[in-house]
Symmetry: C2
Amino acid sequence: MTLHRRSPCPIACTLDLLGDRWTLLIVRDMMFLGKQRFEEFLESPEGISTNILASRLKFLEEMGLVEKQPYSNHPRRMNYQLTEPGKSLRPVLKAIAVWGLKQIPETRIPDDEI
Amino acid sequence: MTLHRRSPCPIACTLDLLGDRWTLLIVRDMMFLGKQRFEEFLESPEGISTNILASRLKFLEEMGLVEKQPYSNHPRRMNYQLTEPGKSLRPVLKAIAVWGLKQIPETRIPDDEI
């Protein structure tokens, strides 16, 4: 997949891929909450819309950060899981969480997050 | 400053503040390249527009991540500098840079970055 690149800077390129308000929340849900199914992502408190969720999952899959597999006997039901490159976003999410907890008042880790 | 919050999650709240393609590039320019003046930010290879730069600098100032001061004898010339909360974004930017360098082909740290 090719994307428009603003520069070769790894920070700029990462923001080209992940620099929006939703993509990293889907990664968060997979990484820390073990969510795998479309409906599970919809249940998160931020209230992502089905359109945005579908487009971001497709994009994450095209980027190779997420892979999907059919599950059980529902031929059209899919499980979404992080690939190794997706899992390697853990230090990014942790650094963001540490910063937010310290710098933004009244933020907290949900009880069910690790 | 009050912002709409999607949830109390520190990752979601941080993305509410900084989750766009430009804000963290301005922080990068201050943190690693020592840029301080409006025209210096405009010179970065990503080609930020004056409108976006002005609005993001204002927002960073309102958030308390950046402070501006007049410099030399130009009463309307301003220096922008990171505050301590702004400087504490260093681990976030470093984690993003490490991920990008490893996961996105043909990214590199510019020669003049630390």
